[in-house]
Symmetry: C2
Subunit: 479 residues, 2 copies
């Protein structure tokens, strides 16, 4: 078998100057994404355009090298970690393919995969438009990554997840074939391969271009931050607001721990005495927004909502949002790292599930804060990490496992908006029958017959299901 060094030399020889990074430093840099797993790649390719990417794919095809597509590396399920494959794959970073054109007339944007979510939104704003999916990492995450994970965000309650805003995708598969799926493409007939590709986490190949739907900016927006005496009351208020025929554009819930941490850092004026604080945002025509705010406020007050603060001009709204958006920065001030989970529970089980999360963290002596999209039951427990603590690995993994299992037991889902990746792969053994996994594998093989597109991700092998107790961490991948 060809050695890794020989493969690296062959890659260097085949690719233009400046595309391949294979130094030990580069390989170390690309071991991780925003999950807690790591594995070293064969090397890293950073093509500047589609033509260079096609060269990368072509040489990998000749040399039978697997490839891991990567955007900004903000994924939390290890979808861009080059682990889980029999041999080290090539990480292919797409950040440089970041062209962007907005068509204000058609309300669409044509983008390369490396375009940063917030940059797209800013360009759209100049035409009175916006890109609705807004993951919390939008300042750095890329559209390619959003498509790979079918990302959500604070506003997906009203506007839906990424898939609903992707009109077409161009897929370069691992064999080098270029496909266009979706609206306006000939392949819009037959089966919905656009929808199948969105959320496939790079296992079909590379999304090299997408046409995205942009929405008009709403004429009026109003943001409300309101305190609650208990987490349970806040969860009930979420349901009451939705039942009052309001559909807020965003419903973000933070627990006491999250508010305390963020206030110490950002002083957004959120209520540190409250057990939970809810941020609601309403959008639309002015009268509509006024109506909905009144209806939602009345509903929230019935469940103990108090200390509300309202803002409708952009500056004051940004001040309220600061309490939510400063979370990552606030964490960085107090601990070196965090481990973010992403599970979904039925909304009726929100309060109970949050209590269970707190109990799980307490049992493992871990500090946890909760910040999440309450409207759709998407929990995001953040476990605060100092990797120098004794036995931190074991306690983190035990907590992570327990959180995933509580979501499954509650009738929820083990992933909300961040994908399965490598981290949750083996948990599918617990929730899916072998026949279903086999069907999923058949579909994957239809889309990636040689299995060289992000191997080891998303689906467990039938073999691993038979042999192993699911583990958050494939052997050797941890830290």
């Amino acid at each position: 078998m060809t050695s890794d060094d020989q493969l690296r030399a062959a890659l260097h020889a085949a690719l233009p100057e400046g595309v391949l990074e294979s130094s030990p430093y580069a390989r170390a840099m690309y071991r991780r994404d925003a999950s807690i797993l790591k594995a070293e790649p064969l090397a890293v390719a950073l093509p500047h355009d589609l033509q260079e990417l096609r060269q990368v794919v072509s040489v990998c095809r000749s040399l039978q090298i697997s490839m891991v597509p990567r955007g900004a590396g903000t994924g939390i399920a290890a979808g861009a970690v080059p682990g889980g494959a029999p041999r080290p794959p090539l990480v292919v970073g797409l950040q440089r393919i970041d062209y962007l054109t907005v068509d204000p007339e058609q309300r669409t944007a044509r983008v390369g995969p490396g375009v940063v979510n917030l940059e797209l939104d800013r360009q759209a704003n100049r035409h009175g438009l916006r890109f609705a999916p807004d993951p919390s990492s939008q300042i750095s995450c890329t559209i390619g990554g959003n498509i790979a994970t079918n990302a959500g965000g604070a506003h997906c309650l009203a506007y839906g997840v990424t898939s609903q805003h992707v009109l077409s995708v161009d897929l370069l598969d691992a064999e080098g074939e270029l496909h266009r799926f979706g609206v306006g493409s000939p392949e819009n007939n037959g089966y919905d391969l656009r929808g199948l590709t969105v959320g496939s986490e790079g296992t079909f190949g590379f999304v090299v271009e997408a046409v995205l739907q942009l929405l008009p900016l709403p004429p009026a927006v109003e943001t409300m931050v309101i305190s609650f005496p208990t987490i349970g009351a806040a969860a009930e208020a979420v349901t009451a607001v939705l039942n009052a025929r309001c559909l807020p554009a965003a419903m973000e819930l933070m627990d006491r721990g999250a508010v305390a941490l963020t206030e110490a850092y950002a002083q957004a004026g959120w209520d540190t005495d409250a057990a939970a604080v809810l941020l609601l945002e309403f959008e639309g025509l002015p009268h509509q927004v006024t109506d909905e705010v009144a209806v939602a406020l009345a509903a929230a007050r019935r469940y103990g909502g108090h200390n509300e603060r309202l803002a409708s001009d952009p500056t004051r709204r940004a001040e309220l949002w600061k309490g939510r958006k400063a979370v990552a920065g606030a964490i960085a001030k107090v601990v070196p790292d965090y481990y973010l989970h992403d599970v979904v529970v039925p909304r009726s089980q929100l309060a109970r599930s949050l209590e269970q999360v707190l109990a799980i963290a307490a049992e493992q002596r871990l500090r946890v804060i909760n910040v999440f999209h309450a409207g759709d039951g998407n929990l995001h427990p953040l476990l605060l990490i100092d990797r120098t603590e004794p036995d931190i690995e074991g306690r983190l993994l035990a907590a992570g496992r327990a959180i995933i299992e509580l979501a499954i037991a509650a009738g929820g889902s083990l992933t909300g908006e961040h994908g399965v990746g490598l981290e949750k792969r083996d948990f599918l053994c617990e929730v899916m029958e072998p026949e279903e996994l086999e069907l999923q594998w058949r579909v994957r093989e239809a889309m990636d017959p040689t299995g060289r597109a992000n191997p080891g991700k998303v689906l467990p092998t039938p073999h691993s299901c038979a042999d192993l107790t699911p583990s958050l961490v494939p052997a050797g991948a941890w830290l």
Copy 2:
């Protein structure tokens, strides 16, 4: 090879009394759906429940018989016509599997495939809810058929097509395996097979149950009917309304011919002097609706909109809608039959495309009326047919072909909301590359490895693309 009579005898022997209909009369009844094609099935199975359906699938598996799932037979692309297969398949009608439970708390409905769309909506209405997709055939079409074709309807402009309202589907494949795909099912992980199944036109097997999302009924609704001096002006007004940051729940356009026909039948008071009449509907909170109606009316008037009639109480709204909903009845009064097309053009090309449709009909000496969902550019030219006219077949097919080709040339799509079926199958040869068809076939084979689920539909064989000029009518299938 076993004869058809022997197969029918074997089916009778294997199935419970009352499930199989194999008389020449029954076979003649199930030759057609609402398209213009026909082909005789081996027999017709009408199972009462999942258990009987599983027996049907099981015996078909043993005898290697193909199956054509059928709902109410209102499809217009021949998706339920048992043609296009090498041997006559069994038609399996699912109308009898029509259980329905509404969960008002979760805002969902659990339904069998045979539930009629309007019946579901009525049951939901009793809880202040509704099922948003409302195909024009909603008085008779079934949810199973809506899912098979990913049906739209008048209100899909604001609420999206069927796929966006289907939380999960249970699929019984042709091998007898039962799968659950989608929200709340373990198989919600991995690839989006729920989305892949919606719109697959029965080629993966039978959707035997679905959990559907219901939406709250809007507190206020206002309907407007407004006249225009030209079709072009009405098309411009559609764009102007959408650009005014209004999203009407429905935007239905009827041309002069359609209005004349309908008024003669139903006297809904629509303006027979207008070149085109637009029906707009707005929904939401009362202030919001008032605002949007004012904005839309101003936009429409800039393009010559006049003679507007407005209604907000249910009775008067229903009177306005009568002008749109009476179309099928009105046609039945003047001709024995019609041939409904379903293509999509970019909204910017609406006016031009409609003129081309009129020219195509004139060239073939056919009477055409246009009634369609203007907001999304989904054209529905209705060719009025008297099958006793000389050379009607040739003229109809030439017109149908020309209409599909104008949509392709305009950068649109050859199917909007009614599927590909048998009728449009071979047109995919014109719009898809062989590699794309091959990929589509791989996906199909992943989902239906033995190819016994609705064979001959949706995808052309690579062979047929190589050999044939696309034809609307496979040999022997016409009339």
